[in-house]
Amino acid sequence: MDLILKVWRQKNNADSGRFEKYKVKANEHMSFLEMMDVLNEDLLAKKEEPIAFEHDCREGICGSCNMVIDGRPHGPNNGTTTCQLHMRFFKDGDTITVEPWRVKAFPVIKDLVVDRSAFDRIIQSGGYISVNTGQAQDANAIPIEKDLAGQAFDAATCIGCGACAAACPNASAMLFTSAKINHLGLLPQGEVEHSKRVQAMVTQMDEEGFGMCSNTGACEVDCPKEISISNIALMNRSYFGSVFGSDKGSK
C-alpha cells in the first residue's frame, strides 16, 4: 500500500516545529512502528535525519510508544497501543497524520518524543506501599477476595504511557493518578497509607501542571489498557474524604 504521512518534526524544545510530508510504501502485515521503521530507513538512505519516536517492547506493555495518529492517541483502535496497531486498519492511498502527545506537562524533546517524567514524580510523591525489603509476612497471611484483587488489578494494568492526558481536552492526569491510587488503596496492604497517598499524589499532579477533569471521558476511550473512568470518581471521593476527614479507605 502507498501512504502519505504528515509527521510532526521538531528539532528540539526550542524549535517551533512543523508538519512534513512523506511518501511510504507499506504492507498490511506491518505494525505501525514497522511502517515508521521503513520510512526511517528510506530517510537514512537519503542521508536525511530519521524521525525520532519512542518504542521499546513493541508488545503494548512498556508504555514507551506515544503517537497521536489522525488525532487520536495510539490511533483509531480502542484498547491498542501504537506498537500494536497494524497497517491492515489503513487503506491504500491514505494520508495519515502523526503527532506527539500535546500536553503542557510533557514537553517535546524531539519530533515525536516527549518528556513524561512528570508521571515518575507523581509516583514518587506517594504511589507506593512503604515496606522495606525483608519486612514482609507470609504472602498467604492476608487472603484477598478474588474479585477485589481483580479490581485492583484492573487499575494496576496502567502502562504509564500518558495517552489519558493526551486525549483530555484539559490535559488532565486524573486517570493515571487515580489508577495507581486505587490499585494500592483497594488492597489491604495499601489501605493504611491511603489518605496520605491520595493527598500527596493529587497535590503533585497539580504541581506538574496537569489540568482539571471535566468528565469528557476521552481518557477512558483512548486508554490502551481500557482503564475505567470510575477510578477518577473513586479517587475524588477519597480525596475529599481525606481532606475533610471522613475517609475510611477507598472501598
Binding site: 513493541r58 500494536q84 509516583i123 504511589g127 488489578f153
Partner: protein, 663 residues
C-alpha cells in the same frame, strides 16, 4: 588460571545462612559514607537500588530508558517461581534447586542455585506486601500454575503481566527511595564505560542522552543490572533497546564473559512473517499448560494448509502428530524450552511446518476448551451439556487464564486463536551467559558486581520458565544487599572517589574518541542493516544448532562485518544532541564484538548441553553432554586476536550428574 567461585564451605542447606550470619557487615553510620552506582532499573536493578537505599547507602541509579518503569522486565508474561509449596504437591527448596540444576543441564553452580531456591519464598512475600496483584483462588489465597521442565505447580502469576506487576512493585519501592533522597535517579543516561582505579571499579562514564554530554560518576563500587544480550540475533523477543554495551564495556575493562554461547531459544513465539520485522513476540510458556503442540502427519495436509486450502481444524485427529507427547510421554507439552524448540525445528526441517515459510507448528487449545467446558458445566449442575455450551464455557476459562495473550496474538496475526489453533515457532529469548560472578555476585574486577540476566550465575546451559524474574529479584532484594558488604566493609576508610582522577579523564577521552570515530565514518549503510546482517550470521551459525565448521565460518564473517561497519556505517547528526541513531550504532558495534566471542565459546565447547546444541555431539537425536571434559564455566578474558579462556570447574556434591531425560 583457575577461577574461584568463592562458594562457602559446609552443607548445601546451611551455606547461605551460615555465610550471611558470619560475614562482615558495614555499620549504619558507615553506610551513609559509601556511594554505590547501580546501572539498570529492571527487576534486578530496581530491587537492588531500592534495597541498598533502604539500608542507608548513597545510591546513584542509571537507566537509558525515559523512566525506570520501562525496563525490559516489564514485558515478562508468564510468572515467577517460588518453592512455597502452597499447592501441597511435594514442592520444596530442594526440589526447586534440583529442577533448576537439571533444567540447566548440569552446568550451573550448586551453591548459587540452592540460595536462589531458598530466597525464592521471600520474594513472593515481599511482592505481595508491595501490592503486587498476584492471581488468587476463590478463597483469597494465591494461585499457582506449572511451567516447563517441572512436575509441580510453583509458578505465581499476575494474569499474563507478571513482569509488569513485579517491576511496578520494584519501581514503586525505588520511587519511594528517590523521594526519601537515598537514591538519586538518572533517567536517559547510558553507561558507556567502567572506570577502574587501582584495579577496582570506581565509577562509570555515562552519556546524557538528551544533551549528548559525557558525564563522570564516581562511587565506591559499581553494580551492573543491565539485562541480557539476545538482540545480538537482531530478531528476538527482547525489547528493542536491550543491549550488551554495559556488560561488553566491562569486558573491555577486564571483566570476564562467562558462557556467552548459552542462548535460550523459546519454543512458543509468533513466527516471522516478513523482512521488515525487527522484533518477535513471545507467547508465554504458560500456554503449554493447556495447549497441545502438533503438526500434520501427511505432507498433503501440510501443503493444503500452506496454500490456504485447509486450516488446522480440518486435519482429523489421527492425522496429527503430537510430537512432544509422542517423544516425551512423561513431560509431554511441558518439556523444557531447549527440548521443545529443537523438536519443533526437527519437524519443520522434515517438511511439516504449517505456514507459508514452513517454519511454524500448531499450539492447539481445542482439547482444553472441551475439558474446561465440561467441568464448568458440571460445577453449574449441568451434567449433560451440549457442544455449544461446552465450547462457550471452556472458551471463557481459557479467556480468563490467557485472555491478554490471545488478544495480542490476534492483534498481530489477524487470526482468532479461539477458533484456529495458534501458529508458533522458536525465537531467541534469553541469554544464560553473562558476566562471570562469584558467590557474592562480584565479577573478577573487584568492586564490580553483576545481577539479573546480565550475569551468568544460576541457569547453566538452559533456563527454566519463570526463573528469570525469580533470579533478578533474588539478586536485587535478597543477595546483593548482603554480599556487597564483603567488598564495602574494607572501604569504610576510603574517601569519596574523585571524578577528576586521571583514570576518569582517560575513560572519558577514550569514550569521546569512540563516538567521534563512528560519527565521522559517514559511510553508506545504515546501522539497522548491519544489525540485521549480524543477526542472520548469528542465527545461521550460532543459533539452534551449531557445528565446528559453521562456527569457524561464522567467526570470520563477523570479523568481516566488523571491518565493514567501521568503514561504511552512516550515522546522522552530532554527538552533542539527542541522537537515537548514534545510540544504536554504539550498541551494534558492541554486539558485533560479542558475536565473535559467542562463536569462539561455542566452538570451544565440544558437547551439546541445554541451549548449546552441537550437531557433532548427539545421541538418538538428543543432546549429548560430555561431563568428563566440559563440566566447567567458560570465562573469557577478551582480546580480539587472542582471547584467553579461564575455567571454573563445577563441583557437584549434592546432585548426581545424569543424562537429562524428560521421557
Amino acid at each position: 588460571m583457575k577461577l574461584d567461585g568463592k562458594t562457602p564451605k559446609g552443607p548445601l542447606d546451611d551455606k547461605w545462612t551460615n555465610y550471611r550470619s558470619k560475614m562482615d557487615l558495614v555499620a549504619p553510620n558507615n553506610k551513609r559514607r559509601l556511594d554505590v552506582i547501580v546501572v539498570g532499573t529492571g527487576l534486578a536493578g530496581a530491587s537492588a537500588a531500592s534495597t541498598l537505599g533502604e539500608l542507608g547507602y548513597n545510591v546513584k541509579c542509571f537507566t537509558f530508558h525515559d523512566s525506570p518503569r520501562r525496563a525490559h522486565s516489564i514485558a515478562a508474561q508468564g510468572g515467577i517461581n517460588a518453592a512455597k509449596n502452597y499447592q501441597n504437591d511435594g514442592d520444596s527448596v530442594y526440589r526447586l534447586f534440583y529442577d533448576t540444576i537439571k533444567g540447566g543441564d548440569y552446568r550451573s553452580r550448586e551453591s548459587n542455585v540452592h540460595r536462589l531456591a531458598e530466597v525464592s519464598r521471600n520474594i513472593i512475600d515481599q511482592a505481595a506486601a508491595q501490592g503486587v496483584p498476584f492471581a488468587r483462588e476463590y478463597g483469597g489465597l494465591l494461585a499457582n500454575r506449572s511451567f516447563g521442565g517441572v512436575q509441580v505447580s510453583r509458578t505465581f502469576y499476575a494474569r499474563g503481566q507478571t513482569g509488569q506487576q513485579l517491576l511496578l512493585g520494584a519501581y514503586q519501592s525505588l520511587s519511594r527511595q528517590i523521594s526519601l533522597g537515598s537514591v538519586k535517579m538518572y533517567n536517559r543516561h547510558e553507561m558507556l564505560d567502567v572506570v577502574k582505579i587501582d584495579g577496582k571499579a570506581r565509577g562509570i562514564i555515562a552519556r546524557n542522552l538528551l544533551t549528548g554530554e559525557l558525564e563522570r560518576h564516581a562511587a565506591h563500587c559499581v553494580v551492573l543490572a543491565t539485562g541480557g544480550y539476545g538482540n545480538v540475533f537482531y530478531l528476538s523477543t527482547n525489547a528493542m533497546g536491550s543491549n550488551v554495551t554495559a556488560a561488553w564495556r566491562a569486558v573491555k575493562r577486564g571483566a570476564y564473559m562467562a558462557n556467552p554461547c548459552y542462548t535460550q531459544i523459546h519454543p512458543t513465539c509468533i513466527p516471522v512473517s516478513g523482512d521488515y520485522q525487527s522484533k518477535l513476540t513471545l507467547m508465554s510458556e504458560s500456554l503449554r499448560n493447556d495447549g497441545r503442540v502438533w503438526v500434520p502427519k501427511k505432507k498433503e495436509d501440510v501443503m493444503a494448509i500452506r496454500e490456504g486450502r485447509k486450516t488446522g481444524n480440518d486435519v482429523p485427529e489421527e492425522d496429527r502428530d503430537y510430537y512432544l507427547e509422542r517423544r516425551y510421554p512423561a513431560f509431554g507439552n511441558l518439556v523444557p524450552r531447549d527440548v521443545a524448540s529443537r523438536a519443533a525445528k526437527v519437524v519443520c526441517d522434515e517438511g511439516h511446518g504449517v505456514n507459508s515459510t514452513g517454519l511454524a507448528v500448531y499450539l492447539d487449545f481445542s482439547d482444553a476448551i472441551q475439558r474446561y467446558g465440561k467441568s464448568e458445566a458440571n460445577t453449574m449442575g449441568n451434567h449433560n451439556p451440549d457442544a455449544a455450551t461446552i465450547k462457550r464455557l471452556g472458551t471463557a476459562v481459557i479467556e480468563a487464564k490467557y485472555g491478554n495473550l490471545f488478544e495480542m496474538y490476534e492483534k498481530i496475526t489477524g487470526e482468532n486463536p479461539y477458533v484456529y489453533p495458534m501458529k508458533i515457532y522458536p525465537a531467541v529469548h534469553y541469554t544464560m551467559g553473562g558476566l562471570w560472578v562469584d558467590y557474592n555476585l562480584e565479577t573478577n574486577v573487584p568492586g564490580l558486581f553483576a545481577l539479573g540476566e546480565a550475569n551468568f550465575s544460576d541457569h547453566g546451559a538452559n533456563r527454566l520458565g519463570a526463573s528469570a524474574l525469580m533470579q533478578g529479584l533474588a539478586d536485587g532484594y535478597f543477595v546483593l544487599p548482603y554480599t556487597i558488604g564483603t567488598f564495602l566493609c574494607n572501604e569504610i576508610r576510603t574517601p569519596k572517589i574523585d571524578p577528576n582522577a586521571p583514570e576518569f579523564e582517560e575513560a572519558e577521552t577514550s569514550t569521546r574518541t569512540r563516538l567521534e570515530k563512528i560519527l565521522n565514518i559517514k559511510g553508506n549503510q545504515t546501522v539497522e542493516s548491519f544489525h540485521r546482517r549480524l543477526g542472520k550470521i548469528m542465527w545461521e551459525y550460532c543459533g539452534m544448532s551449531r557445528s565446528a565448521e559453521g562456527l569457524k565460518k561464522g567467526r570470520q564473517m563477523i570479523r568481516d562485518l566488523k571491518a565493514e561497519f567501521h568503514r561504511d556505517v552512516f550515522v546522522p547528526g552530532t554527538q552533542a544532541e539527542f541522537n537515537p541513531e548514534l545510540e544504536k550504532a554504539l550498541r551494534v558495534a558492541d554486539f558485533i564484538e560479542l558475536g565473535e566471542n559467542m562463536m569462539v565459546d561455542a566452538l570451544d565447547r565440544n558437547e551439546s548441553c541445554g541451549g548449546h546444541y552441537r550437531e557433532e555431539y548427539t545421541e538418538n537425536g538428543e543432546a549429548q553432554r560430555n561431563d568428563e571434559d566440559y563440566t566447567y564455566v567458560s570465562a573469557w578474558e577478551w582480546d580480539d586476536d587472542q582471547p584467553i579462556l579461564h575455567k571454573e570447574e563445577l563441583i557437584f556434591e549434592n546432585v548426581e550428574l545424569k543424562t537429562r531425560s524428560y521421557k
